[in-house]
């Protein structure tokens, strides 16, 4: 494996995607606030996008399919962030806190 041609092989992209997924899962477990968990979720989205793009570039006969899939992922991520932040703001207004440990009351 020629190190100068590293960028034309799928392995480095897939390993970076696996790393992003692992860091995202770690953050999702360890973060104590809702916004921190949201950021970790974005890292997992990024890992999925990078996986789509790498496999699209190196194994798919139609090179535009993966790019369109990643465009859809970006659109869904933007919608998800908008909804999540409005929920976080509503939660903050009720509890004066977005620490996930404090959110322990149900209505009913």
């Amino acid at each position: 494996m020629n190190p100068a041609q590293l960028y034309s092989q799928p392995a480095p992209y897939l390993v970076v995607a696996a790393f992003l997924l692992a860091v995202g899962i770690y953050g999702l477990i360890r973060r104590r606030t809702l916004i921190g968990m949201l950021i970790s979720g974005e890292l997992i989205f990024a890992a999925a996008s990078l996986n789509f793009m790498a496999l699209n570039r190196f194994t798919a006969p139609d090179q535009s399919v993966g790019q369109i899939a990643v465009l859809f992922i970006m659109g869904l991520a933007a919608a998800e962030v908008a909804i999540t932040l409005s929920i976080i703001i509503a939660v903050y207004r009720n509890y004066r806190s977005i620490v996930s440990k404090d959110l322990n009351e149900l209505k009913g």
Binding site: A4, Q5, L6, Y7, P10, A11, Y13, L14, V15, V16, A17, L20, L21, A22, V23, G24, I25, Y26, G27, I29, R30, R31, T33, L34, I35, G36, I39, S40, E42, L43, A46, S49, M53, A54, N56, R57, F58, T59, A60, D62, Q63, V65, Q67, I68, L71, F72, G75, A77, A78, V81, A82, I83, L85, S86, I87, I89, A90, Y92, R93, I98
Partner: protein
Amino acid sequence: MNTFPFSDWIVAAIFIACIAITVTGALIAAFTKRIIRSVCGLAICCLGLAGLYYFLNSPFLALMEILIYIGAVCVTIIFGVMLTEPDEPTPENFVKPFPVIAPLVGLAIGAGVFLGIAKLSLSGNWTAPAALVSDGSVKAIGIALLTTYSVPFELISLVLLVAILGALVIARSGRTKE
């Protein structure tokens, strides 16, 4: 063959720099205590990802990554940070239930996921396609979006509309007079 000396190695160095930026940004996003630094880490990570997309023959998606993630998602999260009090609880008012075990368990799960998936992706037999149907240019993406993928394309605009309306309704509900 190349007109510019060492151009292969310069390209390889830029590629490794993109990977380093992505990894560093992800680590900053997951490990810092202050949430605003975490958002900046996410922005750095997306910048490195845009570089990786460029190496994957897709300058269009590199531009979109910067435009949507850094320009829209990170700025929206910063608005959320301004409107709430997002920092991790300080030790004075928060007793950690498992101060030693919990980070180790998180690290073990993260390392397990990383090692497992990295081993799978390194051992996978990724065969190149025999013939390319489409070259993945911006023109090909546009044609595919308006022919093959026209229904998902319209549906995602509907999803965005509903998301905006839903966000307005949810965030507004507490603002009426008590």
